[in-house]
């Protein structure tokens, strides 16, 4: 056997991963460097890069535009908003909404300029829809609200660094500063009913009202608190500092730096822009070392897109593992090359997966699972680790196939959950406890992962059994079918352990924070359903109520139970654990359940129809002439 092939493949892939660690140099405006600067948004320190990507995800469901990166886009939005207004960044799919706005239905993405004539309409509709509960909104209403919120978000981004009609901010600022003494005198004179210059007053108040808008609506807070500030969380807006100038305040270093950056960008002066970004980062690093570092790290994490790469690698590994299974009977040698290559790729990808989870944990300062997004990632990780362990015990490619499939599917689910924006949001008060997040949440999520794993293995059993003769194929001393049964049984045992311990730990957390161990809350019930279902599988087997096929069918139903507990209960919109109605996910859940039911029905077909268990063809019985065939 050519042992070096799997190694070669995996070394090449590792080389590719390593090569993407290094970011290519930027020419012109170094927006990626700008993207690393720390700001405060959603209650947490993050780099501009995260603001840019998460905003684009919400507006456009993509992390970039066709011809520009998120950072380039954000810089343009915040510094040359007029140009940014021409970029197609609002995604609209709903035909009714497109018709209402008079937009062409062949296009998907629209710019603010396309939408601008209809902003009033949108706002009127949004006022009406806002009163409807989100669960009972129609597709049109949901899309309109999304667009309305999107335009609001976009407008807020636009006034984060400079006033809306700015074209040379440094010059405008100087004019404002020059006007301050006369402006204040005019205000005082007006208050005292004395004579004042109307023009000066209006111009002065015009500035103030623009800065006031910047103060109130700026999206991220970009000015770190000064050294003598009460709290390190007390970040401010640029607008607030500009308003304070009129009361005799000074221009702070961060505001001065941002104004220089904005002006340089407006004057198409990359050199000054790049130098100011660099200087400011150094300055802010002196006072806010941890925050600056976090910004750099998170920007790297965003850039590296480890989970996206893991998806590609899992697909590759799955194809190879499937190839290994299918060529098993024809060419064991080829099959073994496929199998090894698949396994090595999965191990490499699992390392990448682990690294990315670890990186997230460091960035957040939290255990791995903090929300639905991270639970998907962690369930995938759990399945992959279990699959690798299975592959070590039963080296037939099954563990690899299921591991890579589960890894791929859960990461795709996670990518779709990320469209709502920031996936590292802060934890609400009751969840703000690393101890319980690290114990209850992790263990119960491993329970989900192992129950899914058992279900996926069972699906393999049913599909292989129905459509291939492989279940009867000998693997060492056992038939493949028996190997699968042993795997599913072992995993169900694991699942029982994790889901039980996880559920009870959840009860204990509830006892610690709400004063009752068990409250029949939907999420609790969901977890309990998984425990009971696994217990049923085990007891049914011990009692001889089911055999190999029965266990498989029960295990597939376990997928339905787990998906209900993981996603379904969140859609009931009640209870302490529900975090909002997720309407799109509901359809996907129903589709998933549909596929599982189909597989169960397939699995119920009589064994004579299964290719693996078809009776060996025998010569047709000869009926002696004159006798009546027995019915």
């Amino acid at each position: 056997m050519k042992k070096w092939i799997p190694w070669l493949v995996v070394i090449l892939l590792a080389g590719w991963l390593a090569s993407t660690l290094q970011q290519p140099a930027e020419t012109g405006f170094q927006t990626r460097e700008f993207g690393k600067l720390p700001v405060l948004l959603n209650g947490r320190i993050q780099p501009f890069d995260s603001v840019a990507r998460n905003s684009l995800l919400q507006l456009r469901t993509r992390q970039s535009l066709d011809d520009m990166t998120a950072d380039q886009w954000l810089v343009e939005v915040m510094m040359k908003p007029d140009d940014a207004d021409k970029r197609p960044i609002f995604r609209i799919d709903n035909l009714e909404l497109l018709n209402l706005l008079g937009l062409p239905d062949k296009q998907k993405y629209f710019s603010l300029n396309d939408i601008r004539p209809h902003l009033d309409d949108i706002e009127k509709q949004a006022d009406r829809i806002d009163k409807i509960e989100s669960a009972s909104r129609s597709a049109f209403e949901r899309q309109l609200m999304k667009l309305y919120n999107g335009t609001a978000l976009y407008q807020r981004l636009k006034i984060t660094l400079c006033p809306p009609d700015s074209h040379n901010m440094a010059v405008e600022l100087a004019e404002y500063q020059k006007l301050i003494p006369d402006g204040i005198a005019a205000v005082r004179a007006k208050e005292a009913n004395k004579k004042y210059d109307e023009n000066t007053l209006n111009e002065f108040l015009g500035y103030l009202s623009e800065f006031d808008n910047m103060t109130r609506f700026a999206y991220p807070l970009v000015v770190p608190p000064l050294q003598n500030a009460k709290s390190k969380d007390d970040w401010q807006t640029i607008g607030a500092n500009l308003m304070a100038l009129s009361r005799g305040g000074d221009l702070s270093v961060p505001v001065q730096s941002y104004i220089t950056m904005v002006t340089a960008y407006q004057n198409n002066d990359p050199e000054t822009f790049n130098q100011t970004v660099k200087d400011y980062r150094q300055w802010v690093g002196q006072w806010y070392g941890a925050e600056t570092n976090k910004g750099i790290k998170e920007a790297f994490y965003n850039y590296f897109q480890a989970f996206y790469k893991a998806i590609i690698l899992y697909i590759l590994a799955f194809l190879l593992a499937a190839g290994a299974l299918l060529t098993f009977a024809i060419s064991p040698k080829l099959s073994e090359i496929f199998r090894r290559t698949a396994l090595y790729i999965i191990i490499l990808t699992a390392l990448l997966h682990t690294f990315a989870i670890g990186f997230r944990m460091v960035l957040e300062g939290r255990p791995p699972v903090t929300n639905l997004y991270s639970s998907a990632i962690f369930i995938g990780w759990g399945c992959v680790v279990l699959g690798i362990m299975l592959e070590r015990v039963f080296a037939v490619g099954l563990g690899s196939a299921v591991a890579s499939f589960a890894g791929f599917v859960t990461l795709v689910i996670a990518q779709n959950l990320a469209i709502d924006g920031d996936t590292m949001e802060m934890m609400r008060a009751v969840l703000d406890t690393n101890f319980w997040l690290a114990t209850h949440v992790v263990v119960v999520t491993l329970g989900y992962a192992s129950t899914f794993m058992a279900g996926f293995l069972a699906i393999t059993y049913i599909l292989l059994g129905l459509f291939t003769p492989l279940l009867r194929q000998k693997v060492g001393a056992l038939e493949l079918g028996k190997v699968l049964t042993k795997m599913v049984y072992a995993i169900v045992c694991f699942a029982t352990l994790f889901s039980f311990v996880g559920t009870v730990l959840g009860g204990i957390w509830a006892d610690q924070s709400w004063g009752r161990f068990w409250g029949w809350d939907p999420k609790e019930n969901g977890a309990l359903l998984i425990v009971i279902w696994n217990a049923i599988i085990l007891h049914a087997r011990w009692g001889g109520l089911v055999r190999d096929r029965g266990i498989m069918l029960l295990a597939v139903f376990g997928d339905i139970v787990t998906s209900f507990s993981w996603f379904g209960v969140n859609m009931l919109g009640i209870g302490l654990h529900s975090y909002g109605f997720m309407d799109a996910a509901f359809n996907w859940l129903m589709m998933f359940i549909g596929t599982q039911v189909t597989i169960i029905i397939l699995g119920l077909l009589p064994l004579t129809l299964w290719m693996s268990f078809k009776p060996k063809s025998q010569p047709a019985p000869v009926i002696p002439p004159g006798t009546v065939p027995v019915k």
Binding site: D233, A429, C493, S513, W514, W518, I532, H539, W542
Partner: protein, 383 residues
């Protein structure tokens, strides 16, 4: 013979599987039912019951559709005990199973005890207030207070369920009988005649003129509460003092006099008095900067126990309750203006059982699976 078969039935794995499967159906249905009927009612009908009934609309009968939580829990308990008596020998090989199952028995019994013994109430304090009692979240009581002595009030509290019987109530502390004319667990009250409402019929106290009331079905929405009303007559040997309307809608106590002694009566949330008091010093509602996502809720209180001279400050915040004197105080809610706190007060003597049960079952599961896994892996390696 019959007895043997009975034991066999109760000890069978088939019964285990059937009960567990029905348990799943029950939990699933009970979870979905929370959407229309609310957590509290669904809990009572599905889980704290022997049989779950279904009553189709415009239908007089209730149809039993599912065994309830008590029945299934009880059956599983019998099943477990019978199975161990019948089938399992006490051996090292079975040690894991014994641990798991005895943990489960402890868990089930513990929950039953909690169900029967646990008492939940609430303590609502504005900043600066002190109280030495907590109040029930749902149950009312009719408090009759003898206020003749200026220095010491004597209170007789009559719980809601006694009023609901609509019978005469006598108490050795009271020199009169209370005749309960009407009592509605949930009611609406209005000050003008309206369809469905009846005149109160009270002849004394607050509700004599201009008050109409009607009975309402029990409240099912989680956040809403029943508001009871009723009519009671105070009858002493000297004759009737009058019919009084009592109602949760009245904000204060109504005075009356019997045989020269002054009393007040008031329908109020049931109270649980303690030998100590808690005063709210400060309530804090922290949010993450630039958002309205709550970061923490905390209440700083002073605990005062005159009998022992105990006087200290306590801090209650999310995930950090105060356990004191057999009761546990949790940060549960707060006033919209952030000027007051609501603490959940739980008295649950069996709170420790799930902790022990969890340890037992978890350890049992690990022992059991390792005792299968290790020999299996060893065999695998020797192949």
């Amino acid at each position: 013979m019959f007895f043997d078969r009975l034991i066999k039935f109760f000890a069978s794995l088939r019964l285990t599987v059937v009960c567990l499967a029905l348990g799943m159906v029950l939990i699933f249905a009970g979870t979905l039912a929370q959407v229309p009927m609310g957590l509290y009612k669904a809990q009572n009908e599905f889980f704290r019951s022997f049989v779950v009934f279904w009553q189709p609309e415009h239908f007089a009968w209730k149809i039993p559709v599912l065994p309830g939580g008590y029945l299934l829990g009880g059956l599983l308990l019998i099943n477990l005990i019978a199975a161990h008596a019948e089938r399992f020998s006490f051996s090292r090989k079975k040690a894991g199973i014994w641990m798991i199952h005895s943990g489960l028995i402890l868990l089930l019994l513990g929950q039953l005890l909690t169900d029967m013994l646990a008492q939940e109430s609430q303590l609502h304090l504005r900043v600066g207030d002190a109280r030495n009692y907590s109040e029930s979240d749902r149950e009312f009581e009719l408090a009759i207070t003898d206020v003749t002595d200026k220095d010491a009030d004597k209170v007789v509290a009559i719980p809601e369920h006694l009023l609901l019987r609509q019978q005469d109530i006598n108490n050795s502390q009271l020199p009169f009988t209370l005749k309960v004319d009407k009592f509605y667990l949930n009611s609406a009250v209005t000050n003008q005649p309206a369809a469905g409402y009846e005149a109160s019929g009270a002849t004394a106290g607050f509700g004599t003129t201009g008050v109409w009331l009607k009975s309402l079905p029990r409240e099912t929405v989680m956040e809403l509460r029943d508001l009871p009303s009723g009519i009671v007559e105070v009858v002493s040997p000297a004759g009737s003092t009058g019919k009084f309307m009592i109602s949760a809608y009245f904000g204060e106590a109504q005075p009356f006099t019997v045989a020269g002694r002054k009393y007040t009566m008031m329908l109020r949330m049931e109270r649980f008095y303690k030998p100590y008091s808690l005063r709210l010093q400060e309530f804090k509602h922290d949010v993450y900067k630039g958002t309205d996502v709550p970061k923490n809720f905390s209440s700083r209180l002073v605990l005062d126990r005159p009998a022992t001279g105990e006087h200290r400050e306590v801090l209650i915040y999310m995930n950090n309750p105060l356990r004191y004197d057999g009761e546990t105080y949790y940060q549960a809610s707060f006033d919209p203006d952030d000027g007051g706190t609501v603490l959940q007060v739980v008295h649950n003597p069996s709170w420790v059982t799930p902790y022990l049960a969890c340890l037992l079952v978890g350890a049992g599961l690990i022992v059991q699976f390792l005792s299968h896994l290790i020999p299996f892996l060893k065999r695998k390696q020797s192949l």
